[in-house]
């Protein structure tokens, strides 16, 4: 076993670099398509045109699962790319995950657009089997199997990550930097990417296993309806999987901030006790906090729902005081080289900070009682995912495909940046305002009094989509240059 303090960077071979490039192309293409779907939904709600309700809900289902999947893929890409510099990850597993992902996507799209499956991305039991004739069991099964395949690919991916990290660091404690956190070692702590990836596989492996279980149970009940699942247990499993997996995506994308911002500020990212303690605490809190999605299920044990609120509040502390504070400290009076990469990553941290507040509000039980499943909920999570995660992904794209090749930003990139940031903020504010006004989420048809919010949301969505298309075209035009080391 190599010495734990051996944090020398490993070079990425050509197959690894091609694998990462394939992930980047797939992630960006899926995200742009999903953003277009989102724009179609908001525009339809705004009565710019009228989507057939069945098609609206199919698009809603695909948009939900597509963005979750693309976030998973993009997060995995960023995590793998930076972690691969420190531990020997398997390129075969990287490629296998992508193949399983794409196969799963085909099944999901087939189930939705050929089979009319519109059960929502969270396939909440027993809805997949009870459509009142809108879709067949085969369509639902295609969706569920596709998702199971994608989950299986990711499970192998995170198991390989665990193998590689534990192979080098020996045990979980060392990989998490606990000797340094608790003061029993003066050796340098592991790199940020190793600490983060360790927390991520510790969360994602159980999360995916639970998700796979509820997917299989749903599949069984499709064809053997006499086999009934407890609806409350199914809901708990579904939201545990969803919450853990989605948090994992943004935590993985965060690695891009730790690794890339220092190259622009000239200051290393501090792997201090705040950082190490914050990551361990965050991993634990993500597992505990999923009842925040079940606060209106009054039959749940009350202590679990209280934990859901309290841990949600506490969870804001490492986000704001470690990740966001750390970014601001890294940038403050640094003489930073501002460009599209550093700009998008800096904006991403603002997005993450902004998302904490509506999230904490909604996780407060007495607030949740009047805001659960209103547009406040997509307002909150689009703040995290559009303003933060997607911004991190595009920042990483600019880093890999432009900075690393020495390309400079042009006027069109800067226009795209402002369209993305202003459009993104306007888009989420329209959702938050709509939620405060009581507009339900996931409605294909809106009341007349809600249209102003929808129209604002659609206009800002169009700005975000335009920016995303600009970004995609700009950094993918260097596709032939590949990924530099």
């Amino acid at each position: 076993m190599k010495a734990v303090s051996d944090n020398a960077k490993l070079p990425l071979d050509i197959s690894a670099r091609r694998g990462v490039l394939a992930y980047l192309v797939a992630t960006v293409a899926i995200f742009v398509l999903m953003m277009i779907f989102g724009l179609l939904m908001r525009a339809s709600q705004a009565q710019a045109f009228g989507l057939d309700t069945s098609l609206f809900y199919q698009i809603m289902t695909v948009h939900g699962i597509g963005t979750v999947g693309a976030a998973g893929l993009g997060g995995a890409m960023i995590c793998w790319y930076f972690l691969r510099h420190y531990v020997e990850l398997s390129t075969t597993v990287l490629v296998l995950n992508l193949v399983m992902f794409v196969t799963g996507v085909v099944l999901i799209l087939g189930g939705a657009f050929l089979g009319d499956f519109a059960g929502g991305w969270n396939f909440l039991y027993p809805l997949p089997a009870m459509s009142q004739g809108a879709w067949s069991n085969a369509a639902a099964a295609s969706f569920l199997l596709g998702l199971l395949l994608i989950g299986s690919g990711f499970l192998v991916f995170y198991l390989d990550m665990a193998r590689a990290i534990l192979g080098k660091y020996g045990n979980l404690g060392r990989a998490l930097g606990w000797p340094q956190l608790f003061g029993t070692s003066d050796a340098p702590p592991p790199p940020a990417a190793v600490v983060a990836a360790t927390v991520i596989f510790l969360m994602n492996i159980p999360g995916i296993l639970v998700g796979a279980t509820i997917l299989v149970l749903n599949l069984v009940s499709l064809y053997a309806p006499e086999y009934r699942i407890d609806a409350l247990m199914a809901k708990n499993m579904t939201y545990f999987f969803g919450h853990v997996f989605m948090n994992g995506t943004i935590y993985q994308c965060l690695i891009a901030v730790f690794e890339i911002m220092p190259r622009h500020t000239g200051r290393p990212w501090k792997i201090n006790k705040w950082f190490l303690g914050g990551w361990t605490a965050s991993g634990l809190m993500v597992i505990l906090v999923y009842p925040q999605h079940l606060l209106m299920d009054f039959v749940m044990p009350e202590w679990m729902l209280i934990i859901g609120q309290v841990v949600s509040w506490i969870h804001g502390l490492p986000v704001l005081l470690i990740s966001v504070f750390g970014t601001l400290a890294n940038v403050h009076r640094s003489g930073i080289r501002w460009n599209m990469t550093s700009g998008l990553l800096f904006f991403a941290m603002l997005g993450w900070a902004a998302g904490v507040f509506p999230g904490v509000a909604d996780a407060t039980i007495i607030v949740n009682q009047v805001m659960h499943n209103t547009q406040w909920v997509p307002g909150h999570f689009h703040t995290y995912f559009l303003l933060s995660l997607v911004s991190m992904l595009f920042g990483f794209g600019y880093h890999l495909m432009m900075d690393m090749h020495g390309d400079k930003a042009a006027l069109i990139d800067r226009v795209g940046f402002w369209l993305f940031t202003v459009g993104g903020f306007g888009f989420i504010m329209a959702f938050l305002a709509g939620g405060a006004a009581g507009i339900p989420r996931r409605y294909a048809v809106h009341l007349t009094e809600w249209l102003a919010y929808d129209r604002a949301g659609a206009i800002f969505a169009a700005m975000s989509v335009t920016a995303a298309l600009v970004f995609m075209v700009r950094f993918l035009r260097n596709l032939n240059k590949g990924v530099s080391t």
């Binding site: 309700t53 809900y57 519109a118 929502g120 909440l124 027993p126 809805l127 009870m130 009142q132 809108a134 409350l232 000239g266 209106m296 299920d297 009054f298 039959v299 009350e302 729902l305 609120q309 309290v310 509040w313 506490i314 502390l317 005081l321 504070f325 601001l328 400290a329 940038v331 403050h332 009076r333 640094s334 003489g335 930073i336 501002w338 800096f346 603002l350 900070a353 902004a354 904490v356 507040f357 509506p358 509000a361 407060t364 039980i365 007495i366 607030v367 009682q369 009047v370 805001m371 659960h372 499943n373 406040w376 938050l432 405060a436 006004a437 009581g438 339900p440 409605y443 048809v445 009341l447």
Partner: protein, 170 residues
């Protein structure tokens, strides 16, 4: 409550935009930064957050909607509420201001959301409607008028059309 949630979200968001803008403005010229001052600032923010958060948490947890079902404070009007794709059935559809109504909410098929909207279409209370379970929601109506139940859990292709109304009399 919606107004409070809006303000405690929007004002901090605007504050964070301001903070990021200030840091951006002070980022262009490199200078030595006192790391100890930064750490003291972080520690202070942590302590302030804990000091404010604990009493606030106790305050918000003092009156949970779950406990209301166990309280026996005065007469209660019990209403059976059943959701099914895509309609609501209520055993009563007329109440009085000041009357405590206990909605016993369940579903005959998939998950639904029992969302009560007042005459101005603001959400006043909600709970989930789940097959094989009964969620008990107690609410005391403060204002007369026509109230609407909207479904607040995606339940299929007519989810947006699943609504009913009831009257609250003076």
């Amino acid at each position: 409550m919606q107004d409070i949630a809006w303000k405690v979200s929007v004002f901090p968001i605007l504050f964070m935009i301001g903070v990021f803008f200030v840091i951006y403005a002070k980022s262009h010229i490199a200078a030595t930064v006192d790391g100890q001052t930064q750490e003291r600032t972080r520690r202070s923010l942590f302590i302030i957050s804990i000091a404010m958060g604990i009493p606030l948490a106790f305050h918000t947890l003092a009156e949970l909607p779950y406990a209301a079902a166990d309280l026996r404070s005065g007469p209660v009007q019990v209403v059976e509420a059943v959701g099914r794709q895509w309609e609501w059935t209520l055993s009563r559809n007329s109440f009085r201001v000041g009357e405590t109504v206990e909605f016993r909410v369940t579903s005959a098929d998939v998950n639904h959301g029992f969302g009560i909207y007042d005459p101005s279409m603001r959400v006043v209370a909600q709970t989930q409607a789940m097959p094989d379970y009964v969620n008990t929601l107690r609410h005391k109506f403060q204002a007369p008028g026509k109230y609407t139940i909207l479904c607040l859990e995606y339940c299929g292709l007519a989810h947006h059309a699943m609504s009913t109304e009831f009257e609250v009399l003076p």
